[in-house]
């Protein structure tokens, strides 16, 4: 999994049936201190995350196991919303 910050979303009406009802959120991968690291990707959301939330994302085939349908053709799913890290870091200031 990797740490990320939700920075936006995508809408699509024409899509595969398995994506019906799934929110598609832009996630910017971040380092432990909150600074961006790598290219943003689009992830399915399983946690009702919103823009600005720090999250962690499960990717590749395992991404489907964070969704009710384990055969969903997703390669990235938000698996959790980060409340805080221990020991706390300057990630707190990057809220």
């Amino acid at each position: 999994m990797f740490l990320g910050r939700v920075i936006g979303f995508v809408t699509a009406t024409i899509k595969i049936p398995e994506f019906e009802g799934l929110k598609l959120l832009w996630v910017q991968p971040i380092c432990r201190n909150g600074s961006p690291s790598g290219k943003a990707i689009v992830a399915c959301d399983a946690t009702q995350a919103g823009i600005g939330d720090r999250v962690f994302v499960v990717d590749s085939r395992e991404a489907a196991f964070a969704l009710p349908d384990h055969a969903t053709p997703t390669d990235a799913t938000i698996a959790g919303i980060v409340e805080y890290l221990e020991p706390s870091t300057d990630l707190e200031s990057a809220k």
């Binding site: 920075i7 936006g8 995508v10 899509k15 598609l24 590749s60 085939r61 991404a63």
Partner: protein
């Protein structure tokens, strides 16, 4: 998933048996602001995407989780035609 623009079609009569009947499109990956990233992918089209359309595609083993790509030698499949793309509160793309 990654964002991409459809930039062409692959025509190949001599190919893996398992790919017969699959529509193969050439995708140019885009970042969250629709800037090209210089990465190209050949993906199976599962949603009827056309030339120049902005799409989302799934990569890796997850790409085999659609009815069209089941048990096929496919690691990239188009899963949606994008209607809109929003970063923060700015709509950066509207179909």
């Amino acid at each position: 998933m990654n964002l991409a623009r459809v930039t062409g079609t692959v025509v190949a009569t001599q190919k893996s048996e398992a790919l017969v009947g699959a529509k193969l499109l050439v995708l140019e990956r885009l970042n969250e602001r629709l800037k090209p990233l210089g990465e190209y992918t050949v993906a199976v089209d599962a949603v009827g995407a056309g030339e120049e359309e902005i799409v989302l595609y799934t990569s890796g083993s997850s790409a085999r989780q659609t009815s069209q790509t089941k048990d096929s030698p496919v690691d990239a499949v188009i899963v949606a035609i994008v209607d809109s793309c929003t970063i923060g509160n700015e709509t950066v793309f509207q179909r």
